[in-house]
């Protein structure tokens, strides 16, 4: 093997990679937050709603979880303009990722809803708690604790796997930036080595942050290392 590594060009463009990493992080956070909101509404409807609403939510979840995220985003970016709906590539990515995350988070949150112990709620009732107090002091803390690990894992999935799809519709997140830069000077190996390292660092920081938040807020015994 006589390949000569030249990391110099990568270091010269490091600021653009950092800009990409920041966009990746922002997209991940916003898509997850929006998805969590959709998930919360849909999980409540799926658990407590009347059957036509449950059917609708099921259709959404089944459709999204059984098709690739790439197809969903291509549908928004290449498909919708045909009928006159034109959004920017970043908007398409964010909307696509949010709808995608919403379906998966519906399933995760619903598992949390179903795990609330009726007995604890009865104990709350007999102590004189109102419905709002039961939700605030018993149901929400319980759900948060029981599904926190699954939520944290899914955030990493959105952050890394979800956002990188954006490269294929020209969004300058981390993967997109790497493709742009390396196609100028053909240093693919160097760029993708560095970018892979940046993804690892990014998820590592997110994991530690999530583990600390979980321990502090919900007494989740998460292993950091």
């Amino acid at each position: 093997m006589n390949y000569r590594f030249q990391f110099g060009v990568v270091w010269d463009n490091l600021d653009e990679l950092f800009a990409g990493a920041l966009l990746t992080f922002q997209l991940g956070v916003f898509a997850f937050a929006g998805g969590a909101l959709i998930g919360l509404v849909c999980a409540s409807l799926k658990t407590y709603g009347p059957w036509p609403v449950r059917l609708l939510v099921n259709a959404y979840v089944v459709f999204i979880t059984n098709t690739p995220a790439l197809i969903q985003i291509y549908f928004l970016y290449f498909g919708l303009p045909e009928v006159g709906v034109r959004w920017s590539n970043e908007a398409c990515l964010l909307i696509g990722l949010t709808l995608n995350a919403g379906a998966y988070l519906t399933l995760i949150l619903r598992a949390g809803f179903l795990s609330v112990r009726v007995t604890e709620i009865e104990a709350g009732q007999t102590l004189g708690m109102s419905l709002v107090q039961q939700i605030r002091y018993i149901i929400v803390p319980h759900i948060a604790k029981s599904i926190y690990p699954a939520l944290a894992n899914f955030f990493i999935v959105v952050l890394v796997m979800g956002t990188s799809v954006g490269a294929l519709i020209g969004v300058d997140e981390l993967t997109g930036q790497a493709i742009n830069l390396s196609s100028v000077n053909y240093r693919w190996l160097e760029y993708f080595t560095v970018v892979a390292g940046m993804y690892v660092v990014l998820t590592f920081i997110a994991s530690i942050g999530l583990a600390l938040l979980g321990r502090w807020a919900f007494r989740v015994k998460a292993k950091i290392f």
Partner: protein, 245 residues
């Protein structure tokens, strides 16, 4: 006038009538024990009194006030004056022992914090758990959790304490620590309705034993009289089976 008067109370789970007209009364400071086979409706009586199982007929009067279980305000009044301890403890698992005890007095009753916390410490001392205030329920044994549940029920200063098979889920060696705590309350003059299979304990603390079967009261009386010389065949059959050892 009786402190709690239950008159012809009925309750249903779906189409199945589980309480077919229950009547009994209890004076202040008295301890009544509900005994009988599984499925006889003992626990349902307590759940109905706390408004957890819908009451479909009859009357309940507490300290002279009629309780209407179809009325939310009346149910609140019932829960305000009575407290229940469950077989499975039902502690709030996301909270410490101290938070379990103080949540309702602070957030629902809005009593002053200093007073609530010192009362909570006194109660934890009473049930022998003075050193566990900061523990979470998953760090406690079943007997300890049940004693916390007992203290939590007492923190609201109920007039009547309802105990629903509080030792049935416990390992044999943990039963006595809970019964000791209940015995202390009995000695303090707490009014209680106890559902229990611990007949020796019932005989010792109860003023009145009510034997139930099939959603009805078959026979009631003082413990010694009922256990030793039951008048009905059903009661004689039941006690001869469980008091043999």
């Amino acid at each position: 006038m009786a402190h709690l008067a239950v008159n012809d109370v009925r309750a249903k789970y779906g189409a199945l009538e589980v309480l077919k007209g229950i009547s009994f009364s209890i004076e202040k400071g008295e301890i009544a024990a509900l005994v009988g086979p599984s499925g006889s409706g003992k626990s349902t009586v307590l759940r109905a009194l706390m408004g957890l199982t819908p009451v479909t007929g009859g009357h309940v009067a507490l300290a002279g006030d009629q309780l209407d279980y179809s009325n939310a305000k009346s149910v609140r009044a019932a829960r305000d004056r009575m407290a229940i301890v469950f077989q499975q403890y039902n502690l709030f698992q996301n909270m410490t022992v101290m938070q379990n005890l103080t949540l309702a007095p602070l957030k629902i009753k809005r009593w002053p914090r200093a007073e609530v916390e010192s009362e909570a410490r006194r109660l934890l001392g009473l049930v022998g758990l003075g050193d566990k205030a900061d523990a979470y329920s998953d760090q406690l044994s079943g007997g300890q959790q049940q004693r916390v549940a007992l203290a939590r029920a007492l923190a609201l200063k109920p007039q009547i304490l309802l105990l629903d098979e509080v030792t049935s889920a416990l390992d044999p060696e943990l039963v006595n620590e809970v019964l000791d705590a209940v015995g202390k309350l009995a000695a303090e003059g707490m009014t209680m309705i106890i559902v229990s299979h611990e007949m020796a304990f019932v005989r010792e603390v109860a003023d009145k034993v009510i034997f139930m079967d099939g959603g009805q009261i078959v026979e009631s009386g003082e413990p010694a009289a009922l256990f030793d010389s039951p008048r009905t065949d059903r009661a004689r059959d039941f006690f001869s089976k469980i008091l043999r050892h």
